[in-house]
Symmetry: C2
Subunit: 167 residues, 2 copies
C-alpha cells in the first residue's frame, strides 16, 4: 500500500468500463427511427439504478472547473442507493477515475479513462469513483442520479500515493 | 373545431410551462458547491416520473432533423407511464408544442414555446406534446424517459388545422 502509483489513462470503451458502469455514446447503440423519420433514437444508452425508500431519479447540471494536473488523489466516493450518469454539454474529453472495492470496503486497483469528447458515463451504484476531472476549461454536464431521502454518499480517503498525470 | 389556428411562439419560462412540465435551466436553480469547490451542482432541475410495472428510467439520445416550417400539426403524443426530459447538446433554440387534455381525452388549447438555447424541458406524464421541433440544423438531445414493459405511447390525430409558423 505504500508504493506510489502514477496512473495511465486509457481510451474509454464500453468493454473496458463494463465493470464500473455504462458508456453513454451513440456508437454501437440500438437505433430507432421516430418522429415521422425526422429523428433517430439512440435507445437506452444507460439505465438508472434506484434503491432505498423515498428516492427518485432526477436531472441536474454540474458546472465543473478544471483540476490542476498532475494531482494526487485525496478522496474517492460512491453512491450506495443509485447510479450516476454524466454527459458533457460540450465536446471536450475529460478523465474518469474508478476503482475496485477491496475486502475492507476500500477503493483499490485504480483505472483511469479518457473520453473521446462524445462520450458520457453512468457509474453503477456503489462503484468507487473520483469526481469528474476536467482539464482545460469549465465544462457543463447533464447529470442523472438519485435524489431524495437516505444517505447516498460514501467517501474514502486514499492514503496511498495515487497520482493522476497530466494527460 | 373547424377554425384554423396559427400558433404564436412565446419564450419558454418555468411559470408558463408549469402546467405541462419542468424547464431544465440553471437560472433560479438551487445550487450546491461540490468536488472540493471545483464544481457547482444545479440541483434537481427535473424529476423523472415512473409508473406501471416493469419500467425503469433510462438515458437515450435523440438526433433530430429540422422540420420544414410552417407546418400543419398532424399528430400529438403523450406518455401515460412516465415523464420525458430533453436537453439540447448544442446551444440552439427549438420549439415545443403542448396541449391541454379535453373531456374526450383529446389535445386542445395548444401552446407553442421557443427555448433560449440553454433550456431543456421535462414533459410530465400524460401531457400532450408534439415531437421536438428543430428549425435549422440537426440537433442532438439527451433524453431521460421510461423504458421497459407496458404501452407508454398514446397518439392523437389532430383534425383541426393547427399551424406552427416559421419562427
Amino acid at each position: 500500500m505504500s508504493d506510489s502509483i502514477m496512473l495511465q489513462a486509457s481510451p474509454l470503451t464500453a468493454k473496458s468500463f463494463a465493470p464500473f458502469g455504462e458508456v453513454i455514446e451513440t456508437e454501437f447503440a440500438k437505433t430507432i427511427s421516430i418522429n415521422d423519420g425526422l429523428a433517430t433514437r439512440f435507445h437506452q444508452l444507460a439505465t438508472a439504478e434506484l434503491s432505498g425508500e423515498g428516492g427518485a431519479v432526477a436531472v441536474s447540471l454540474f458546472r465543473s472547473d478544471p483540476l490542476s494536473l498532475p494531482h494526487r488523489v485525496k478522496v474517492m466516493e460512491r453512491h450506495p442507493l443509485g447510479s450516476q450518469a454524466f454527459y458533457p454539454l460540450s465536446v471536450v474529453p475529460f478523465l474518469i477515475l474508478v476503482a475496485r472495492n477491496n475486502s475492507n470496503n476500500e477503493p483499490e486497483e485504480f483505472s483511469l479513462f479518457l473520453t473521446n469528447g462524445n462520450q458520457g458515463v453512468n457509474f453503477f451504484r456503489n462503484i468507487w469513483h473520483h469526481f469528474l476531472i476536467v482539464r482545460q476549461e469549465t465544462c457543463d454536464f447533464l447529470v442523472v442520479d438519485r435524489v431524495g431521502a437516505g444517505d447516498n454518499l460514501e467517501e474514502a480517503v486514499v492514503e496511498q500515493e495515487v497520482i493522476i498525470p497530466m494527460v
